[in-house]
Symmetry: D2
Subunit: 359 residues, 4 copies
């Protein structure tokens, strides 16, 4: 039996209470404090989690000698400041999605954690659901073959957010999941974003992301705040099999279809395309049983294990950064009428000096 | 009781037999001949339709004194030649989708028909299904309010076509339907196409079309040959209500949701966006009963009525042309890595006076 | 603003905590104590509900001067004893389903409450869900016309109960719902029960109830512990419209079909059946929006209002008794190989003297 | 290549044309004539099937020297007479369901065929669908283990038949399927039927059949003409796996659930039930791919093969008789208020020696 690690949750708004409840009941963690500028709000969360300490000043919290880690659930623009302070105080950090409000700041957080040998984990909760863990496992073991396309739809009648558009609000879920299940992560060649603001809300309420991948594959994401029907579906097409994840069908969330198109190219006179022979497989469908486990609990365990094993977590800062880079490229593409926009890969190196000035 | 019109079907391949069967049983038409270079193929169709005349040369067919119209179901690249010959012979023409293989040829067909006062009809069969007719009616009477977005998905394990990509194969259905139901037709500001060819088939097998519409609205089409699950769904969001058409659910094809987001912009200090107040309607859902009627039969009637009433048909050459222009723009966008591509609007305008002065 | 009433929950097993949580958060109630022989179990529930008093002896609880009511969530065979004691102490009583383990005891409880002018309420939780409240409202206002048939299916992979069969475990839900929505309650002419025990569990694991109603109508219930798919569906056919309630479809729980069969009987030579003319209505489908409200909260309010208004609650002891009578008749029918078995209506009168001896 | 057999279809009403079309296109058969008292009706069918001979008198048909078999699709009450005449003329016979209008007549037909060594086949079309053939195969190879229960639902807004009730109209489908897939056929211990006639149609429009099977298992059938939703679902629970057949879901007709309840009885003090330990399996779901094949074509082939191989067909007269016996018992049960009613098992036994000594 290992010793429990001590953690505090920073931010007692919408998501913080969920983190607090899970760290409180985790066998790996002692929840020791809730920190929020609004002391009353923090107190309400503390009451539900065994009456832990309430702190209203971050500096007071970080001065605690007993704290191993903090989990940050505050608005995105404050992530960088809080995470940097916690890392400086020698604490491991988990950050709610998105990792930061800009790529520059996100990269700075990743670098700071790396320099100190601390774990920086992105709170990509969906990745720890039994369904997504199973998808990753299936792709890893080759059950789907090479990935040909990923099509993700996440639409619902949703709250129009005051500060972010539908891409920044919903797409982090899809992007972090695709990043998690694709071997090597989600690394699109470019990003094209198409948005619509038909109500005049001043931001996209309907959004589409096209993400061409190496080898002719493609990922696509449809997010929408204006749909009266709720759809949460991801199709992952592979050369061997194709998987459909319908998150709203608890009786059969995952379906693996042994169906597909096989294309045999025969090299005639210099590999002519016209010689292609198409054949179809119409095989069985298989739906793996999934264990019942709350994602947040699994995420809390992963955070503890990563710290103990001194390894990056499965959804580490780099993963958070990849998602962030795509969101930023999407915003640039949107401003460019959907033009194919490169990721800021070059800048990653270039802006290191810049970033360090930021502190 | 009006006299029946005489028609011949040109092309006895995949689609021709369906046209032949419907004209044969239509109260408005006498099917008088089947024309195909392959006489044997034509004969098989003729046998199933009361043993009508078999013709293997188009010139022989067009020399018939008794023919009022022809329905063309041959490969797209032959549409222009056959239609032009038929129009020159004074016959009304129905053409399988797409109207032609290029916009130039399509426009020439439209112009030629207009010059002669003949009906040129696009065989947009889906538009004559009870579901689509009902959608058009609902939008026309204002039941949905202003249209905010249209999202159409048409995916299935499909035959990889030897001559066309997935856009030209499947999207004509979606585009012709959207064109039919939107007041004024589908007139996107630009076209962005993103395609994937992950199997190396030499053409897109997965495709996405983003079509920004006036007033911030957007239409989007997802077509896919590689999906093991079949989805045929269109969501049409309006300011008043939102409609979902699930063509694979015969028990409830259309659902009209009285749900939506209302945005009230209050002008404070110069119409600040931040003053927007969002409210939700979570009203009833309503699914109109649809009559059971075969689309092809309704289309045959419409063709006859348009001829008798000397009016354009509900899916006239102009509609076919709008679909064709979007497909051509999509191909150009695809070549430009998804760049927002204008329609050949200038050319349409330039052509129009010519066309209009003639009908 | 009315004064809150004081209540204690008796029984801290599976269901008690749910009751406790809802009375604790209800604007109508003060939860003042949790009573269970197992003090530790009671303490755990008390901790989650504001640290209310823990009592291990029923007599201590009932001696409290401040208690207005008790909610009983103990095994069925103890319901009578506890309820009788509470009624004698002048308290209103809510009892978990089934009302009692035998009809005799149930009737005695009803009588005792009536004698003292106290509210005896059956905890038929499902009746307070938005869906069931809406169904009752629709039937009441005549939207369905006369009820022709009710078909209820409640199947799932379920725990084989040690003490009761699948009828007593699951059917109380269906029966209490049907009783709630039918005007005048569920009053079948007879009860036929067919059960199967294919695993040799010593009790029915698969069960069917046929309940002929007046005027040729019928209710039927299918309950099943062995089904790998979960179905919770009720179809209520009426002369005007038919309603389908699919409780596992949160996006469209209720569908009202304006479809049906009309039979016009024309009296020829003495009302010959052969002269019947059948016609069909194939009208629209309509799905009413339902408010989001937790059933237990609504039930707690109803209990309080019934006490304040000195009226029977909407699921009063009589309703509990009707359900109990059907369950008992079902057990007798089962023993008689499914023979149509009358309810114990006669005995209701007959056993009054007997019942009084019981006390 | 075997020689084709010659067949005529008797009855050109609703079902006859389907039989005619399939025998016409079958590689095993020559359709040589259509026989119907209504010559015009027969002529219309003959025209669609290559212009075969039209006969209006059965005696003329049976006098044909070239006829190997007849397929009878006339009203049930005429089956016996026509089949007997055809058998006497030395022809093999296929009969539309139900085999006859009474068990006595059905048994006489079976006996007559056996005496002459002729094939008497019941037209249980559903049994030849790919789904049902697969179910039979799965049960045969033990994939489901021992069968615990079968629950079949076939409900829809249906035509109220003038001559038969909903049991005789719809249940033959369910019963013949269950008979086909259960090893040894469907041999219930008793039959209980519950029907409702809420419209006063003079016959049951809603019906339930409870069929206890050996070893505590049970089959149950729900048929209904008054349901606005269409359901065609059969659940077959086994000790190893459970199968769900949803005939209205073409994308996943069959689902095999590796889920179930295991009951381990431990013999303590004489095999006490209380020592039962229940455990659950929550394994994967599997949906076998099904070939696309029309059932009527497969049935036509089976009829030919049975004749050639001089063996009973897979849905022979005995199978038709078992279905008929259950329907007759159902009618008797209905008259007895749902009392458990024995089959005419004694009579079957009594008849059997007669039948057996002849084939």
């Amino acid at each position: 039996m290992t010793t429990k690690l001590n953690i505090a949750v920073v931010g007692a708004g919408y998501w913080g209470p969920n983190l607090a409840r899970n760290f409180h009941t985790s066998p790996d963690w002692n929840l020791v404090a809730i920190c929020d500028i609004d002391g009353e709000r923090a107190r309400r969360v503390a009451e539900m989690t065994g009456g832990v300490r309430v702190v209203t000043a971050l500096s007071d919290l970080l001065a605690s000698a007993d704290l191993d880690a903090v989990a940050i659930a505050t608005p995105a623009k404050t992530h960088h400041g809080i995470a940097r302070a916690a890392l400086s105080a020698g604490m491991h950090v988990m950050v709610e999605k998105p990792l930061a409000d800009t790529g520059v700041r996100g990269r700075d957080m990743v670098r700071a954690a790396a320099e100190r040998g601390l774990v920086l984990m992105a709170d990509h909760t969906y990745c720890y659901t039994p369904a997504v863990l199973k998808i990753r496992e299936l792709i890893e073991e080759g059950a789907l073959g090479d990935i040909l396309f990923v099509d993700s739809v996440r639409i619902n009648l949703g709250l129009i957010q005051p500060d972010v558009d539908v891409f920044w609000d919903l797409a982090p879920h899809d992007l972090s999941i695709i990043d998690f299940v694709l071997p090597g992560g989600l690394r699109p060649l470019t990003v094209s974003a198409h948005g619509a603001d038909p109500l005049g809300a001043g931001k996209s309420c309907v959004g589409y992301l096209s993400l061409p991948l190496p080898n002719g594959a493609m990922a696509h994401v449809h997010v929408n705040w204006l749909s009266p029907t709720k759809i949460r579906q991801m199709i992952i097409g592979g050369t061997k099999r194709t998987l459909v994840w319908d998150d709203l069908n608890p009786q059969q969330r995952l379906s693996v279809y042994d169906r597909g198109v096989d294309l045999e190219l025969q090299a005639l006179d210099g590999a002519e395309r016209s010689a292609a022979t198409v054949s179809y497989r119409l095989g069985d469908t298989w739906s793996p049983a999934l264990p019942e486990r709350e994602a947040l609990g699994a995420m809390a365990s992963e955070f503890a294990e990563a710290i103990r094993d001194r390894r990056p977590s499965r959804t580490d800062g780099e993963a958070g950064l990849r998602v962030l880079s795509i969101l930023e490229a999407a915003s640039r593409s949107l401003a460019g009428f959907g033009a194919a926009t490169p990721l800021d890969a070059d800048r990653i190196a270039a802006d290191r000096p810049l970033a360090e000035e930021l502190l």
